[in-house]
């Protein structure tokens, strides 16, 4: 099944925020220096992106 096309691409800040939130999630909400941080799997970034898009689409449809 193909995913519905989003109307507008993510902004740079949104993309960076998704990376930031994924890193927080990988570290259980704790923001550590990069050297002490758990690696962030690409799958987790993708999951956070999907959640973000889903919330945004809901807001746009309201």
């Amino acid at each position: 099944m193909t995913k519905p096309q989003r109307r507008t691409p993510l902004t740079l800040i949104e993309e960076l925020d998704i990376q930031f939130q994924a890193r927080l999630r990988a570290n259980h909400g704790v923001l550590l220096p990069l050297s002490a941080s758990a690696p962030v799997p690409l799958e987790l970034i993708e999951q956070v992106r999907e959640e973000f898009l889903s919330v945004q689409e809901e807001e746009e449809s309201e």
């Binding site: 949104e14 220096p33 050297s35 962030v40």
Partner: protein
Amino acid sequence: MTAAEQVAADLASVLRHLFRDEDRRYGLDEHDRARLACHVAETQFTHPEHVATVMGWVRWGLHWTAQYRALTADETCVLAAALRVAELAEMFRLLACLADALAAEDWPEARQQWLQLGPFHAVLIGARPDLEYLTVLLQDLTTQPAIH
């Protein structure tokens, strides 16, 4: 220093801290930093939601830094600046909601947004003489029969 100069200085202080990122807290690589620097230069970084997001990173970053070591004097100043800028971004976000409600003539919603702007009423109405238009607009809003 005027309020506008204070905001510009606060924003510059927070962005300098973010770009320097001595503890590598924020996870931005060189490519991300370059893209962010271009974005700031091109847009003047005035979008309230974007500003709020970035202030959130810095607040969270410094919050956690303070859990494992004392913040430096510079970091304390950056945190204070991030809080001030975040507050202002929130004010502009609420103003945008108020403007939407006014445009839609949704008076209960407009009233709700105006009440949420409560902490900023003095700033909005009293601090700047060039906000006369807003003052008149809000007087109109508060005299709408649907609100009272």
